[in-house]
C-alpha cells in the first residue's frame, strides 16, 4: 500500500522533476513527500484494530505498560520510579520502578504532557494506543537514513516504504499494542544509523548522538543487548579485515565508554553491563582496540628487534587475559546454565519463545525474505566499513530469528534495508541507464513505466559515481524488452507484497485478543467480549482488596482492567511463586485449598474455551502448569499422572483420574456436563478438544462458582472460608441390634420442606 503510494508519488513528482532539470531542492521535497506517505501508510495500516474494535489496549504486557504509564502520568516521574506495586505478586509485591524499562512509559507520558501543555486534552489511553503507529513512521525515517548511509537514496526510500508496512514489524506495533518493541525498533534503527554515521565520519559528535540514541534504546527494551554485541562485533571484524582506522578507534572508544555509563543509569540495567556475560564482548573488544591502537603506535616508533620482544610480551599478556576471562566466564556460564535449567519450563511455555517455522518467515516478510540475500550479496560485493556492519547485522539477526520467533522483529528492519538495496540495484540496472545514455524514454516502455523509470533516476544519482564501470559492462547485452519485462516483474512482486502486507495485518495482527471476534456463515461478525465482561464483574462485585488467583497470563489484565490484586502475572520473575499457583491448579481440591488459604486467595479466575472452541484456554495450557509445578514440587506433582497409560492427554472418560479430579479440570468443567451445545453432540461436549468430558458430576467443597461469562470463556470461583462447623464425614452408626420402626409422617415432611424454603427466602 505504502509501496504503491510511494511509487506513484515518486513517479509523478519525478516527471515534474525531469522537466525542472533536477534542482537539488526537488530531490529532498520528493524524499520528504515519499517519507510522509510511507509514514501515513504505515500509520493507517496499523489502525485495523481500532476501526474494527475500539481504541483499546491489546493483549497482556501492554496492559501492564498502560497501567504503569497511567501511574506515571497521575503521580509523576519520581513516584513512578519508586513505585512499589503491592497489588502484583501478592504477597511479594513488585518494585515496578526498578524492574521495568521505563522508556516506553516516559515517552508516552512525555507526549501526553506536551499535548496537554498545548491544551490538546487527550486521554493517556489514546496516547498509548497510537504510540506504536506513530513510532512506525519514525522507524521508517531512521531506516531511510540508515539505508541512505549504506547505499543510495533510492534504496533508502524503498527501505522506508518496506519497513512501514512489513508485517514482521506491524505484528508488534499495531494500534493498541503498547509494548516496548513499538518504540525500540525505532531506537534500534536510529542507533545503527548514528553508528554508521560515526564510523564513516569518525566524529565524536555523531558518536555521542549514537550513545544518546543507545541510551534511549536501553531505556526502552531489553533488546539493547543486541546492539551492545553487534557494534563490538562490527569493530572486531573490521580489525580482522585490516580495516582499522582512527575513525573506528574514535567511534568505538567513545561509544563504549559513554554508552556504558549511560546504560547504567537505567535502574533495571544497573550494574549488568560490567557484570554479566552478554556485555563482556563489548568490554573485550574495547580492550583489544586499545591494545591494537597501542601496537600500531609502537609499530611506527620501534625497531624490528624491539618489536619482536614486544610481540612475545603481548602474546603472554594476551594468554593471561584469555585464561582469566575463561575462568570468569565459566563461572558466569555455570550461573547461566543453572538459570536456564531452572527456568526452562516457564520460558519454554511462552509461545513467542518457540523456534521460528519456515512459514512464519514468509508470512512476516513475504518477498523480502527472498530478495534480501541478494541485497546482502550486493553489499558484500561492494564492501566498505559500513556494509560490513549491515552484513553482520543481517547474519546475526537471521540466526536469532531462527532461534526464537519473537526475534523476527530484529530481523525485519535489516531485511527491509537489504531488500531495498536489492530492488534498488535491479531497478537501477533495468531502468536507470536509459536516460543516462540519453535514449528516448518513450521508446521501450509504456507510459506508466516511463514515469516510474524517471522516478528512479534518483536511485542512480546517488550511486552512479561509484559503480559506473561495472554497470557499463553489465548492461551491454540487455535489450529493451528484457528490461521492461524485468521491471514489470519487479513491480508485480512489489504489488503483491503490498497486498500481502495489508492482508496479513488485517487478518493476523489486528486482533486485540481481549476482544474476540467470530464470523458467522453469512460473514457477519460476532464480538465476544467475555474477558472484559468478567474483569468488569470483578471490578464491580468484589472487595477492593480481593486477591485473584489465575494463571500468570492473565495477571496484567486483571490488574489493569479489574484493578484487583493478583498472585502472579506476566512478569514471570519468581518461578517458585508461579509453581505454587501451578501446583494449586493441578492438585485436587483439598490440597489446592490449603495452598489458596496460605496465599489468602479470594477468587480464582480461569479461561475456558470449551463452549466456543477457543483454543488458548487454560486446559490447553494446563500441561505447562503441571510442568512448572513439577519443577518446584517434584514429589507432589508428576506430569505422567496427567496422561493416560498410552501417554495421551485426554479430558474424556479415558483421561487419567488425576486430571479428571484436579482443580483446573473441575473448575473448567463445573456444570458443563449439564450443557448440551447442539443436537449432534452429547451434553458436556468440549468443542476445543472435541471430546465429551469424562467427569460430569463435579462438586466443590471449598469453592463456589461466582461468575461465568456469556460464552463461558471466563469463569470465576470464590474460595469459601473454612466451614463454620466440621460435620462428621459419615452417617451416625446404626447396628440394628434393636430394630426400630421408622415413623415419619407425611405432614412433617411437608413442614420440613416449608421450613427449608423459608430459610432460603431469608
Amino acid at each position: 500500500m505504502a509501496e504503491a503510494d510511494g511509487k506513484a508519488g515518486c513517479g509523478r513528482q519525478g516527471a515534474l522533476a525531469v522537466g525542472l532539470s533536477q534542482p537539488a531542492g526537488w530531490r529532498s521535497l520528493l524524499s520528504i513527500t515519499i517519507l510522509f506517505l510511507a509514514w501515513l501508510a504505515g500509520f493507517s495500516s496499523r489502525l485495523f484494530a481500532v476501526i474494527r474494535f475500539e481504541s483499546v489496549i491489546h493483549e497482556f504486557d501492554p496492559w501492564f505498560n498502560y497501567r504503569s504509564t497511567h501511574h506515571l502520568t497521575t503521580n509523576g516521574f519520581y513516584e513512578f520510579l519508586n513505585w512499589f506495586d503491592e497489588r502484583a505478586w501478592y504477597p511479594l509485591g513488585r518494585i515496578v520502578g526498578g524492574t521495568v524499562y521505563p522508556g516506553l512509559m516516559v515517552t508516552a507520558g512525555l507526549i501526553h504532557y506536551t499535548l496537554n501543555l498545548l491544551h490538546v486534552t487527550v486521554h493517556i489511553r489514546d496516547v498509548c494506543v497510537f504510540l506504536a503507529p506513530v513510532f512506525s513512521g519514525l522507524t521508517a525515517i531512521s531506516t531511510f537514513l540508515l539505508t541512505g548511509e549504506l547505499w543510495s537514496q533510492g534504496a533508502a526510500l524503498l527501505a522506508a516504504c518496506f519497513i512501514a508496512i512489513v508485517p514482521g514489524y506491524i505484528s508488534r506495533s499495531v494500534a493498541g499494542s503498547f509494548d516496548n518493541e513499538g518504540i525500540a525498533i525505532f531506537a534500534l534503527q536510529f542507533t545503527y544509523y548514528l553508528w554508521v554515521k560515526s564510523i564513516k565520519t569518525g566524529s565524536v559528535f555523531w558518536t555521542i548522538c549514537c550513545c544518546l540514541s543507545y541510551f534511549y534504546m536501553v531505556s526502552a527494551w531489553g533488546g539493547y543487548v543486541f546492539i551492545i554485541n553487534l557494534i563490538p562485533l562490527h569493530v572486531f571484524v573490521l580489525l580482522l579485515m585490516q580495516r582499522f582506522s582512527k575513525r573506528v578507534y574514535i567511534a568505538y572508544s567513545t561509544f563504549y565508554i559513554v554508552g556504558l555509563v549511560l546504560s547504567m543509569q537505567i535502574p533495571f540495567v544497573g550494574f549488568q553491563p560490567i557484570r554479566t556475560s552478554e556485555h563482556m564482548a563489548a568490554a573485550g573488544v574495547f580492550a583489544l582496540l586499545q591494545a591494537y591502537a597501542f601496537l600500531q603506535y609502537l609499530k611506527d616508533k620501534l625497531t624490528r628487534q624491539e618489536r619482536q620482544s614486544l610481540f612475545y610480551l603481548g602474546v603472554s599478556i594476551a594468554a593471561l587475559a584469555v585464561f582469566l576471562s575463561v575462568i570468569y566466564l565459566s563461572f558466569i556460564g555455570e550461573h547461566l546454565y543453572n538459570y536456564a535449567k531452572i527456568h526452562i519450563p516457564i520460558i519454554a511455555s511462552v509461545s513467542e519463545h518457540q523456534p521460528t517455522t519456515w512459514v512464519s518467515f514468509f508470512f512476516d516478510l513475504h518477498i523480502l525474505v527472498c530478495t534480501f540475500p541478494a541485497g546482502l550479496w550486493f553489499c558484500i560485493k561492494n564492501i566498505n566499513d559500513e556494509r560490513v556492519f549491515v552484513a553482520l547485522y543481517a547474519i546475526s539477526a537471521v540466526y536469532f530469528a531462527g532461534v526464537m520467533v519473537r526475534l523476527m522483529l530484529t530481523l525485519t528492519p535489516v531485511v527491509c534495508v537489504l531488500s531495498a538495496i536489492a530492488f534498488s540495484s535491479i531497478f537501477e540496472r533495468y531502468l536507470g541507464d536509459d536516460t543516462k545514455r540519453e535514449n528516448p524514454p518513450s521508446e521501450d516502455s509504456g507510459d506508466e513505466d516511463d514515469r516510474r523509470n524517471s522516478g528512479n533516476l534518483y536511485d542512480k544519482a546517488g550511486k552512479v559515481r561509484k559503480h559506473v564501470s561495472e554497470q557499463d559492462k553489465a548492461e551491454d547485452g540487455l535489450g529493451p524488452n528484457i528490461k521492461s519485462i524485468v521491471t514489470m516483474l519487479m513491480l508485480m512482486l512489489l504489488l503483491m507484497f503490498a497486498v500481502h502486507c495489508t492482508w496479513v495485518t488485517s487478518n493476523a495482527y489486528s486482533s486485540p485478543s481481549v476482544v474476540l471476534a467470530s464470523y458467522n456463515h453469512d460473514g457477519s461478525r460476532n464480538i465476544l467480549d467475555d474477558f472484559r465482561e468478567a474483569y468488569y464483574w470483578l471490578r464491580q462485585n468484589t472487595n477492593e482488596h480481593a486477591r485473584v488467583m489465575s494463571w500468570w497470563d492473565y495477571g496484567y489484565q486483571i490488574a489493569g482492567m479489574a484493578n484487583r490484586t493478583t498472585l502472579v502475572d506476566n512478569n514471570t520473575w519468581n518461578n517458585s511463586h508461579i509453581a505454587l499457583v501451578g501446583k494449586a491448579m493441578s492438585s485436587n481440591e483439598s490440597v489446592a485449598y490449603d495452598i489458596m488459604r496460605m496465599l489468602d486467595v479470594d477468587y480464582v479466575l480461569i479461561i475456558f474455551g470449551g463452549v466456543i472452541g477457543y483454543s488458548g484456554d487454560d486446559i490447553n495450557k494446563f500441561l505447562w502448569m503441571v510442568r512448572i509445578a513439577e519443577g518446584e514440587h517434584p514429589k507432589d506433582v508428576r506430569e505422567s499422572d496427567y496422561f493416560t497409560p498410552q501417554g495421551e492427554f485426554r479430558v474424556d472418560k479415558a483421561g487419567s483420574p488425576t486430571l479428571l479430579n484436579c482443580l483446573m479440570y473441575k473448575m473448567s468443567y463445573y456444570r458443563f456436563g449439564e450443557m448440551q451445545l447442539d443436537f449432534r453432540t452429547p451434553p458436556g461436549f468440549d468443542r476445543t478438544r472435541n471430546a465429551e468430558i469424562g467427569n460430569k458430576d463435579i462438586k466443590f467443597q471449598h469453592l463456589e462458582e461466582a461468575f461465568t461469562s456469556e460464552h463461558w470463556l471466563v469463569r470465576i470461583y470464590k474460595v469459601k472460608k473454612l466451614e463454620n462447623r466440621e460435620p462428621l464425614g459419615h452417617k451416625p452408626r446404626v447396628t440394628n441390634t434393636i430394630p426400630k420402626q421408622k415413623h415419619t409422617s407425611k405432614k412433617v415432611r411437608v413442614s420440613r420442606n416449608a421450613a427449608a424454603a423459608g430459610y432460603r427466602v431469608m
Partner: protein, 502 residues
C-alpha cells in the same frame, strides 16, 4: 470506554460500593463498624451473626467510614472477628421440652438461668407453632433442647434450621438421653459429634453410684475427667458428677470439638440389656459424656449425653461410688458444672473481642501509606472481655503478634500497656505485603483473630546513603581525573601554540 477512565485507575475506589457488594456475602450484614483509624471490614463479621444482632439490639448507628489510610489503599484491617459481641445475659432463649414436666423436674437449672436474666420461652418440641427464624430474623438468641426423644420437631424447626441458627451465631444447649431420637443424632453429627444409638447408655462397672439399680448406668464421673478450662467447667471441685445417659464420640482431629467431660477408662457405651455382640461404639476415655463445640463464628453448642444431669434430683442427690471405701459426698457437682456450662454456652463467660487496632512508626501517630523496610513500628491492640455484662480490658500474658508474609517474619509477645496490648519491633529487611496477625485461640475463650494488612516497600531512591565512606577512593579518582584532564588540555593547547610559534 468500558473501564479505566482517568479517575478510577487504582486505589481510588470509594468504600461505598463495597457496602452493597457485601450483601450477597451474608444476608445479615447491615454495615460497617468504624474502629479507630482503621476500618474494620465486615467480612469476618458477616459470618458473625450474633455480633450483628448485638449491634442491632443496642441500636448503634453504623455507617461506612473512610480513613486516610484506607483511601490510599494501603492499609486495611482484614477482619476483626468477635468485635462487639453480644452481651448475652438478657438473651431470649427458646427451651424445647419433651413434656411440660421437665420444666418442673429441672426447675433449679431453669431458675438459675432466669435469675441471670435469660428470657426463657418453654415449648414442647412437637409444638406446631415452633419457629426459630421468621422473615430471616432469628427470634431467639439461644436454644435449649431438653427433648431427647423427639423424632420430629414441630413447627418449622428441624435440624437444618438449628444448624442455620448455629451458623448464624446462635448458641445451643442440647441434652440427650438413652431415648435419643434421630434429629438429635443428626444434629450431633452436623456438629462433629456422634451419639451412640437409641437405647444405649454409658456403662461403667467400676464407677457407678451406690443407688444404681444394677445396670451400672448411673455413673459417677470423676471431676478429673473434666476439661481443664475453668471458663467452661467452672472452678475445680472435688465433687463427682452424676451422669446417666447416652455416650458420644468425636473425631480427635476435629479442632472445634471440646471433650468437656469424658468417661473413665473403664466406661463404654452399649445397650445395657443386651449381650455384647459388637464392638461398643465408645470405649474408655473416648466416651464423651459432655461435649462442646465452639464454631468458627464462635457460636457455642454443648451436648450432654444426659438430660438427668440437669435435673433437680441429680443436683441435690448425694453421691458415692459403689466401690468399697469410696467417699460419700452430700451433693453432686452437677449444679456447679451445669451452671458453668450454661454460662459458657450462652456467652456469659470467656467472651473476648478485639477493639481498636493501631500501628504506626515509632515517633509518629498515623500509619504511613506504606512502611519502609527496617522501620521501627509500634503495634497496639485493644482486647476486651465480657464480664458481668460489661466489657473490661482482658488480662492475658500470652498474646502473640505475628508479622506474616506467607510465613511469620516476626513473632513476639504483646505486652499489656494500660488498656491495650502493644509492642515495638523492627520490620524485617524484606519488602512485600505483610499482615499484623493476632490469633489468640485458648480453650474456653472465643477465638480471637485480627489481621491488618500493610505494605512494606523498599527504600526510595532518595533514601539510600549518599556518600559511602568506602567509595571515597572513587570520588577522589573522578575529581583527580577531571583536574588532570583540565591541566592536560591547558598544557596541550599551550604546547601546540609553542610549536606553531617555533
Amino acid at each position: 470506554m468500558f473501564l479505566i477512565d482517568g479517575e478510577t485507575g487504582r486505589g481510588q475506589a470509594s468504600l461505598t460500593p463495597a457496602l452493597a457488594r457485601y450483601d450477597w456475602l451474608s444476608r445479615r450484614v447491615r454495615g460497617y463498624v468504624p474502629v479507630s483509624a482503621d476500618v474494620v471490614q465486615g467480612r469476618k463479621m458477616a459470618m458473625d451473626g450474633s455480633a450483628m444482632r448485638g449491634i442491632r439490639k443496642r441500636g448503634l448507628v453504623m455507617s461506612p467510614s473512610l480513613s486516610a489510610g484506607f483511601s490510599s489503599s494501603v492499609l486495611f484491617v482484614l477482619s476483626a472477628a468477635l468485635l462487639l459481641q453480644v452481651v448475652s445475659g438478657d438473651g431470649k432463649t427458646l427451651v424445647l421440652l419433651d413434656n411440660p414436666n421437665i420444666r418442673d423436674t429441672h426447675s433449679i437449672f431453669f431458675r438459675s438461668l432466669a435469675d441471670r436474666g435469660f428470657d426463657l420461652t418453654f415449648k414442647t418440641a412437637d409444638d406446631p407453632s415452633l419457629s426459630l427464624i421468621k422473615y430471616g430474623q432469628f427470634l431467639y438468641d439461644h436454644l435449649i433442647i431438653f427433648s431427647p426423644s423427639v423424632e420430629d420437631f414441630g413447627g418449622n424447626i428441624n435440624v437444618e434450621t438449628i444448624t442455620a441458627f448455629i451458623d448464624g451465631g446462635g448458641n445451643v444447649l442440647v441434652a440427650a438421653s438413652s431415648d435419643i431420637g434421630d434429629p438429635l443424632r443428626e444434629l450431633g453429627s452436623e456438629c462433629g459429634i456422634e451419639f451412640d444409638e437409641e437405647k444405649t447408655a454409658v456403662i461403667d462397672h467400676h464407677n457407678f453410684d451406690v443407688s444404681d439399680p444394677g445396670e451400672h448406668t448411673l455413673i459417677v464421673a470423676d471431676p478429673e475427667n473434666l476439661l481443664k478450662a475453668p471458663t467452661i467447667v467452672g472452678k475445680p471441685t472435688e465433687k463427682p458428677i452424676l451422669f446417666k445417659g447416652v455416650g458420644m464420640v468425636a473425631d480427635p482431629d476435629n479442632p472445634l470439638v471440646l471433650d468437656i467431660l469424658t468417661g473413665s477408662s473403664t466406661s463404654y457405651s452399649y445397650f445395657p440389656d443386651r449381650p455384647i455382640t459388637q464392638y461398643p461404639h465408645a470405649v474408655g476415655k473416648n466416651t464423651l459424656l459432655i461435649a462442646g463445640l465452639q464454631a468458627r463464628n464462635n457460636a457455642r453448642v454443648v451436648f450432654s449425653g444426659s438430660l438427668h444431669f440437669f435435673s433437680d434430683a441429680f443436683f441435690n442427690s448425694p453421691v458415692q461410688k459403689a466401690t468399697p471405701g469410696s467417699k460419700r459426698f452430700p451433693q453432686t457437682g452437677n449444679q456447679e458444672l451445669a451452671e458453668a456450662l450454661s454460662r459458657w454456652v450462652f456467652k456469659e463467660a470467656g467472651v473476648l473481642r478485639v477493639g481498636a487496632v493501631t500501628h504506626h512508626p515509632v515517633g509518629e501517630s498515623t500509619p504511613p501509606a506504606a512502611y519502609t523496610i527496617t522501620d521501627l513500628v509500634e503495634y497496639s491492640i485493644v482486647i476486651e472481655m465480657l464480664s458481668e455484662g460489661r466489657w473490661v480490658p482482658f488480662d492475658g500474658d500470652d498474646i502473640q503478634l505475628e508479622f506474616v508474609r506467607i510465613d511469620p517474619f516476626v513473632r513476639t509477645y504483646l505486652k499489656k500497656n494500660g488498656g491495650k496490648y502493644s509492642v515495638q519491633f523492627k520490620l524485617p529487611d524484606v519488602y512485600g505485603v505483610f499482615q499484623f496477625k493476632v490469633d489468640y485461640n485458648r480453650l474456653g475463650y472465643t477465638h480471637l483473630y485480627s489481621s491488618t494488612q500493610v505494605s512494606v516497600r523498599p527504600l526510595q531512591h532518595t533514601q539510600y546513603e549518599r556518600f559511602i565512606p568506602s567509595a571515597y577512593p572513587y570520588y577522589a579518582s573522578v575529581f583527580s581525573m577531571m583536574a588532570g584532564l583540565f591541566i592536560f588540555s591547558v598544557v596541550f593547547l599551550h604546547m601546540k601554540e609553542k610549536e606553531k610559534s617555533d
